[in-house]
């Protein structure tokens, strides 16, 4: 398996009137071809900005910095805007959270699907239409050919999201970034869309970054997981490791918040994490979770915590040792 995307120390900074906002800090991860990396975290933890930073689609005021940002062997930190435009939609594609507003209301589905291919490949409209029909069928849309002349307002949310997925696949990208693709959909449709994404990802051997706040989704589709909190990745690992042996106190807290059929006893309280996320404006010192962490001690507020790698692809961001973390988890479970 080859690494398709390698990110080291990605930072996003946004100057505001109140000071410098640091919504994404020191984010590092890698995605291999044919694997699904889930980035989980609560609202405002920097998941979406991370994905926009990878695509170089950040708001104009935001600054992006990275020690390393290598996509398919190419250094994106040095890529010009013209080069990024050539890559976007072509080698790396994105699916957004809001299918209702992510399609242009004035153009037909066919027009919007075909234009991605016509932009990046030297082919005729006929071939582009054929590809659009093929992919609409792939994403499970019936009567695909007749859909091409329809407009977004004539489709339901679930259908629109399928169209968005087909659109992302038009040029056969190496990497797809899906930013909460099912959040705006009904629960029944969510499952279908996720199943579809996972199946397409395997079929086309793409790398998939799936951004979500739903741990249920993670458990079902992820190969590996990165847990984000307050702009940083606090823990990464394979989905099995992370669910079985969560190390970071935040991950442990998150997992206690979801009921597990058969294990969570009737009548017991589900967990919650007290406190609120820290303000990310200005110079930030110490562990960003220390004010909500039940295991915090004095150094947590004063010492910057870097990622500790305990095995390849398995890392966490805490001053405690892995053994102490595991012991805490065991104590909480008892």
């Amino acid at each position: 398996m080859s690494v398709i995307l390698d990110v080291q120390a990605l930072d996003v900074r946004i100057p505001l009137a109140q000071g410098m906002l640091h919504p994404v800090r020191d984010v590092s991860f890698a995605v291999e071809r044919g694997e699904t990396l889930c980035i989980v975290g609560e609202s405002g933890c920097g998941k979406s900005l991370t994905s926009l930073a990878l695509m170089d689609l950040l708001p104009r005021r935001a600054e992006r910095r990275a020690a390393r940002l290598i996509f398919a062997g190419e250094d994106l930190t040095r890529a010009s805007e013209a080069r990024m435009t050539d890559l976007r939609g072509n080698k790396m594609a994105m699916i957004f959270q809001e299918p209702m507003t992510s399609l242009n209301p004035s153009y037909s589905i066919g027009n919007q699907l075909e234009e991605a291919l016509l932009r990046h490949r030297r082919i005729g409209r006929r071939e582009a239409t054929d590809r659009a029909i093929y992919l609409l069928e792939k994403v499970g849309i019936t009567a695909a050919a007749s859909r091409l002349t329809q407009y977004p307002h004539q489709l339901s949310g679930g259908l629109r999201q399928r169209v968005m997925i087909a659109m992302a696949l038009m040029c056969g990208p190496d990497l797809i970034i899906a930013d909460e693709p099912t959040t705006a959909l009904d629960v029944t449709i969510q499952a279908q869309i996720l199943h579809l994404l996972a199946q397409l990802q395997r079929e086309f051997k793409m790398g998939l970054i799936l951004i979500t706040h739903d741990l249920g989704i993670v458990a079902r589709v992820a190969t590996r997981v990165a847990v984000m909190y307050a702009g940083q990745i606090v823990e990464t690992g394979t989905v099995a490791e992370l669910f079985a042996r969560p190390l970071h106190p935040y991950t442990q807290g998150l997992l206690r918040c979801i009921p597990v059929p058969g294990r969570t006893k009737r009548g017991t309280h589900l967990g919650s994490i007290p406190g609120i996320v820290p303000n990310l404006i200005g110079d930030l010192v110490g562990c960003s979770f220390h004010n909500r962490c039940e295991h915090a001690y004095e150094s947590c507020a004063a010492t910057d915590v870097s990622q500790r790698e305990i095995a390849p692809g398995r890392a966490y961001r805490c001053l405690l040792t892995a053994e102490q973390c595991a012991a805490n988890a065991a104590k909480a479970a008892a």
Partner: protein, 305 residues
């Protein structure tokens, strides 16, 4: 689309009917027509004879239907003052006003839409501020003063353009600028606001995520959605330009409909005033209809409404 167009056309016809009733009433409400036609020194018998001759003794509905039938055939009656057919007078004046209105609107759109787009691309930049200044000036300067300044600079000092009459296309340049400039601020600000809103929308992000180049994103995906409200505004502005060009027509001695309307009002020449109201209102109705159809063409969501 066809059903939508049919519905719009029916509505437009209804509005036109209402307008015709109002302009018919305009003449009847302005006093006893038979008395007005006969003049002050006439006898009661003369007045009665005239009343019969012109059908003014008939019920109002009959009178209206007769009048409407004639109007549809292009007969607006004779002018009280010139004693010649109103239709002929209009045929002579209307092209001047239409040409002036069309070129003024073109000038306004060509100036305002690109300026609005550029201002929206770079909010609070020098070009945005320049556009804003132009807009404030356009709204603040009285059009007669602006027209006179144009005449002094380009007509008298530089001698580039003729200052009065309708002989050549050059005669229309300054009046069009003077009339069109007034419409520029509203169009520019609406374009700017529309573009800023559209550029922040999710589907523009999608377009960029597809790797489309900036010109495609701007002109294909953004502008088409941003100009939808501008189309309706432009139609209304065009109506204002046709009806409200009296000042400009007077200053530049363009013998258009506006000038004729003003003259006819001062002479109490009711048939002419009535015909002008009817024709301008009908043009306005047609413009609104065209704007609706154009909007439906631009925005597929409108078509099913």
């Amino acid at each position: 689309m066809l059903a939508y167009a049919a519905k719009r056309i029916c509505l437009a016809l209804l509005v036109a009917l209402t307008v015709s009733i109002i302009s018919f009433g305009l003449l009847r409400l302005s006093g006893d027509l038979a008395q007005a036609l006969a003049g002050q020194s006439s006898t009661a018998a003369d007045v009665e004879a005239l009343r019969k001759a012109y059908g003014l003794d008939q019920p109002l509905t009959v009178q209206y239907l007769e009048w409407a039938g004639k109007v549809l055939a292009g007969d607006f009656g004779d002018s009280f003052f010139f004693k010649e057919p109103v239709a002929a007078m209009l045929a002579q004046r209307l092209p001047v006003t239409m040409l002036l209105g069309a070129s003024a609107l073109t000038f306004a759109l060509v100036l305002a839409v690109p300026l609005g787009v550029v201002a929206a691309m770079r909010p609070n930049s020098w070009i945005d501020r320049l556009a804003l200044t132009l807009a404030v000036l356009g709204q603040a300067l009285p059009s007669f003063w602006f027209a006179l300044m144009l005449m002094i600079v380009f007509g008298l000092t530089l001698r580039w353009l003729p200052i009065s009459g309708t002989g050549t296309w050059q005669h229309f340049v300054m009046p069009s600028i003077a009339l069109g400039y007034y419409a520029t601020p509203a169009i520019m600000r609406l374009t700017r606001a529309g573009m800023m809103e559209v550029m922040a929308s999710d589907y523009i992000r999608t377009a960029r995520a597809k790797g489309l180049r900036m010109p495609t994103v701007l002109f294909k995906h953004a502008l088409r959605n941003a100009v939808i409200p501008v189309v309706a505004l432009a139609a209304v502005q065009f109506g204002f330009m046709l009806g409200g060009s009296i000042v400009i027509e007077t200053i530049f001695a363009l013998h258009g409909v506006g000038y004729l309307a003003w003259e006819s009002i001062t002479r109490a020449d009711f048939p002419v005033v009535q015909a002008i109201v009817l024709v301008l209102a009908s043009i306005y109705v047609v413009l609104t209809l065209l704007a609706d159809l154009l909007n439906a063409f631009l925005d597929p969501r409108i078509r099913i409404a």
